[in-house]
């Protein structure tokens, strides 16, 4: 399965121990780097920080909801906490994390390039992200926002007293980081593929990242403009959304969801990208229906722009509009179904390694299926009427965003950790952790489907008038504690691996792809020589792999047998 031919001389990656991590150690060599791998690590650290803050807010919300009349917070504070949770998780973590960390790290490596097309733009995008993130945090510290992450008008533009303007400007700036990252990926994928890396030899990670980039470029400017209009109306009383001034409040929802529904796919397509890699590589099998999986990403990117109105079935948009949006929403479900079935077909007749990344991938399959199917309840206009804006919706999008994107993120983190850091972590505890996350997740969010179906509205601080909801909220909070443990453990064992983990070989998982052909961690230039791609993507042969496995197992058994045949030596 050697896929590269080095045109001159022999491949000797380990002669030189210099890699992108130890090439220099000064702070400025990190903060002024143009290396996509170092920028990816900068993103890893910064998005983890924002994720931590968002999780603390989530924990507070769950704690508060254990009692129907609240526990520690005032309503005003509670509203600011759930708004912070949404804003931090969506704008500073989910939209950014997989593309900016793993996309940044892997797009050049996977296509055999030395870096992204515009390294300085890449660094600038990190600074834009940090500036935006800092403004968002500053807004939350100095007054807070209580609008929810959706900033619905006229509440956000005329009534809310918080730091709406500052937070919106933060999101505006962070949005440009997303746009520039998207442009960088599109140009890189078009122009910088190694010789022999044709479009249909691209790993599916690249296809999905390409579709994501297109959506980022096309959708993010719309939300940037929309939020800016809110600021104009707040500051200059420009009549746009507020009926008091002569505006239309529902217009905001159209503009907002024109971005934010594609944003859902900006969050989930990178997860699909990761899962395609994990399933193929840990099943040691070429992905089933490569073309269908690749083009379903593009279909999702295209149709994803035409379904925003399904967020607005009760908003007073016309009945006929709603029906059309409902129809297109059912169409966009089909490409997701295609992906699920193709992933399962990939596992069929594979040689499946149940290492931690694969366990995350299987957990993803199950949870995302539930997330996708419950979306049908909300895409059908009739059933949405009762369920919209209840905890059913909360559960649904957490099944997609946490069960989907977050599990894929964890799978990716484990899978590429040896490549990024050059160290192996303890896979045993990582596998246990994947199970903890799976259980904690379902215990947290499944009860929310039921309590939403019972009629519990989202964004409610109190429910003392409906005590029948309490049992489900307590279950959910219990689950959140388990889930929290599942997020804390990796922070420890992955950090520990940096110091005590054994050194990773170039290809510790036995995976296929250009990123596994260079050393772990890779040198600054990624490849010592430009690789030339000669074989197809995911070029595994399950039959010979199986023979290999049988030989390996036989050898292990023989060794064990030998060990047990000479017991007395150990005791002396």
């Amino acid at each position: 399965m050697s896929s590269t031919v080095i045109p001159s001389g022999e491949l000797q990656p380990h002669v030189d121990e210099t890699n992108y991590l130890n090439v220099s150690h000064t702070i400025s060599s990190w903060l002024l780097t143009g290396d996509h791998k170092r920028i990816a690590l900068l993103y890893l650290v910064s998005t983890s920080f924002f994720f931590f803050l968002g999780s603390v807010a989530a924990g507070l919300i769950r704690y508060e909801l254990t009692s129907p009349a609240g526990v520690v917070l005032e309503s005003d504070t509670y509203n600011k906490v759930f708004s912070s949770h949404g804003i931090l998780m969506v704008f500073t973590f989910l939209v950014v994390a997989i593309p900016a960390i793993f996309g940044n790290f892997l797009v050049p490596l996977m296509i055999g390039a030395r870096d992204l097309a515009f390294p300085r733009l890449n660094l600038a995008s990190w600074y834009m992200y940090m500036t935006g993130g800092t403004l968002i945090l500053a807004g939350m510290v100095f007054g807070g926002v209580d609008t929810g992450w959706t900033f619905y008008t006229p509440y956000s533009s005329m009534y809310s007293n918080g730091q709406v303007t500052m937070v919106i400007i933060g999101i505006f700036i962070a949005g440009f980081s997303t746009i520039t990252t998207g442009i960088n990926f599109v140009v890189t994928i078009h122009k910088m593929r190694a010789p022999g890396m044709t479009w249909f030899r691209l790993p599916l990670f690249i296809w999905a990242m390409y579709a994501t980039s297109l959506m980022m470029i096309l959708a993010t400017p719309v939300v940037a403009i929309t939020l800016l209009l809110v600021v104009y109306e707040r500051t200059f009383k420009l009549p746009i959304f507020s009926p008091e001034l002569g505006g239309d409040p529902v217009l905001f929802q159209h503009l907002f969801w024109f971005y934010s529904h594609p944003a859902v796919y900006i969050m989930i397509l990178p997860a699909f990208a990761v899962i395609s890699e994990l399933i193929a590589n840990f099943s040691r099998k070429r992905i089933f229906g490569y073309h269908f999986v690749a083009f379903s990403s593009l279909a999702i990117a295209g149709l994803g722009f035409l379904v925003w109105g399904h967020h607005m079935f009760v908003s007073s948009q016309s009945m006929y509009e709603s029906i059309v949006f409902s129809l297109i929403s059912f169409l966009v479900a089909v490409p997701s179904a295609i992906k699920i079935f193709n992933w399962m077909a990939t596992m069929y007749k594979g040689n499946i390694r149940l290492q931690s990344p694969m366990i995350y991938a299987i957990a993803f399959l199950m949870i995302f299926t539930v997330g996708g199917l419950t979306g049908l309840f909300l895409g059908a206009a009739g059933t949405d009427i009762h369920l919209t804006a209840t905890y059913f919706v909360v559960a649904h999008f957490h099944y997609v965003m946490v069960g989907g994107t977050m599990l894929a993120f964890l799978g990716a983190l484990h899978y590429w950790w040896p490549k990024m850091t050059g160290r192996m972590f303890a896979d045993g505890i990582a596998r246990v952790n994947a199970v903890i996350v799976f259980i904690g997740f379902n215990l947290t969010f499944f009860p929310q489907f039921i309590v939403g179906w019972l009629g519990m509205p989202r964004r409610y601080h109190y429910y003392y008038f409906a005590p029948e909801f309490q049992a489900y909220h307590i279950m959910s909070t219990l689950g959140a504690s388990v889930l929290g443990l599942g997020f804390i453990l990796p922070a420890f064992y992955l950090t520990k691996s940096l110091f005590t983990g054994e050194k990773a070989s170039a290809n510790p998982w036995g995976a296929h792809g250009l990123e596994w052909e260079t050393s772990s961690p890779p040198p600054t230039s990624n490849f010592l020589e430009t690789p030339i791609v000669m074989d197809e993507v995911y070029d595994f042969d399950p039959v010979s792999d199986h023979a290999e496995d049988l030989r390996r197992i036989a050898e292990e058994q023989q060794r064990k047998l030998n060990d047990s045949n000479r017991p007395s030596e150990d005791h002396n």
Binding site: S67, A69, G70, V72, S75, D146, Y155, Y159, S160, D248, P249, R286, I287, F288, G289, Y290, V314, S316, M319, I323, S326, F330, V334, A337, I340, M344, M347, Y348, K349, G350, N351, I352, I362, L365, T369, V370, L373, F377, G379, A380, A381, G382, T383, I385, H386, T388, A389, W453, G455, P457, R458, R459, Y462, Y463, Y464, F465, Q470, A471, P542, H546
Partner: protein, 376 residues
């Protein structure tokens, strides 16, 4: 204590809920079916094809068009079937019957103000008769709200600047949750109350008693007063004049405008023509009417619209008495009188929009509850 209380479904108490639930449960069944397929499939393959197991791996398959088409077309067809049933349900929810009894709802931070056709008002509680279609015409005075009755499976946004509608026929006598389900600010979670579905006889009695000592004024009567107060009649009389068209009998008729377009004169059109008359100038007239945006309260507008709908047909006599809810709100805001009401309805002092808004019937005051929670 409700720790071991795990209800599995909300009460089913309206005609819409009866249509809704079969569609919902069909979707649940379908979801469970596909979830099982994926979960069992993934686990089965993971075990059977685990590296080193003795399974047949010969002739692995990487592309198979018929298979791909199968799992493209089956979900597509199932999706279209679900779309059909979802849409049929949606159209039913969105199409109020002609004979529905109208009730009017104004949402504001953080209370629901409700007005029955004969002028009886209540806050955060909605009384409805069982077995009769009810249509709510709703508007918000400030931010977005949403009127949500889980037991009836109905919900609709309440938007400032435009009317929205929601209808249902209650089928079971009882009390049900009423929630605001569009985030609207600090006390959003307490903007709600209950819907009381009553036997029609009890409802009729409640409605006629709702006025207590003061005879309620019908909405049309109240509208006629507003009509006179702001001098609509100076220009809009029984006959078309040089300045303005007559409004007699225009409701439900097609109106042709100066720019050649036309619209059916419905509630929304009438309201728009009062607050923003120049959006649709009736053909043959100029821009002479004052703009009433911000000049009239939503309640005045609701009453005015109700009056214009019947103007010239069943013109009610302008009330002779000055004593009515609208001009004498204090008559019902005395505590002893309020508690003497036959129901739990709180009579609103609607002329004072700042009057303590959020009160859930039978619930402790906000601060008290929060404090109780903290002491736990």
């Amino acid at each position: 204590m409700s720790f071991f209380n795990f209800p599995l479904a909300p009460p089913r108490a309206s005609n819409i809920a009866q249509t809704y639930d079969p569609v919902f449960y069909a979707l649940v069944g379908l979801s469970i079916f596909f979830t099982i397929i994926v979960c069992v499939g993934a686990i089965f393959f993971a075990i059977r094809y685990k590296a080193g197991t003795k399974a047949d791996r010969s002739r692995p398959m990487y592309e198979n068009l018929p298979l791909e088409l199968t799992w493209t077309i089956i979900p597509l067809i199932l999706g279209l079937v679900m779309f059909y049933f979802g849409t049929a349900l949606f159209v039913k929810i969105k199409t109020p019957p002609k004979n529905a009894e109208e009730i009017y709802v104004i949402g504001k931070q953080w209370m629901w103000h409700i007005q029955h056709g004969n002028g009886v008002r209540e806050n955060n509680t909605l009384h409805v008769p069982v077995g009769k279609p009810i249509k709510l015409t709703m508007i918000s005075q400030d931010v977005l709200h949403a009127f949500y009755i889980p037991a009836f499976r109905v919900q609709m946004g309440v938007v400032p600047g435009r009317y929205t509608e929601l209808w249902f026929t209650a089928t079971e006598v009882g009390e049900y949750h009423l929630f605001c389900n569009m985030y609207c600010g600090t006390q959003h979670s307490e903007m709600g109350g209950k819907v009381v579905a009553m036997d029609p006889k009890d409802y009729a009695e409640w409605l006629s008693n709702g006025g207590q000592s003061v005879a309620p004024m019908s909405m049309e009567q109240a509208g006629a007063k507003v009509y006179a107060r702001v001098h609509c009649d100076n220009c809009h009389g029984a006959e078309d004049t040089l300045h303005a068209p007559s409004l007699y009998g225009i409701y439900g008729k097609r109106r042709v405008f100066a720019d050649g377009t036309s619209l059916i004169a419905d509630d929304e059109y009438i309201r728009d023509s009062i607050v923003r008359p120049y959006d649709h100038i009736t053909a043959g007239y100029g821009q002479t009417m004052p703009v009433y945006q911000g000049q009239l309260t939503e309640e005045d507008l609701l009453n005015l619209v109700a009056y214009i709908k019947v103007i010239g047909t069943a013109l009610p006599n302008p009330p002779t008495s000055n004593v009515n809810r609208h001009s004498a709100p204090t008559a019902v805001s005395h505590t002893n009188e309020a508690s003497a009401l036959s129901t739990n309805a709180i009579q609103a002092d609607t002329d004072d929009p700042d009057a303590s808004p959020t009160r859930r019937v039978g619930a402790p005051a906000v601060g008290a509850v929060a404090a109780e929670g903290r002491n736990r």
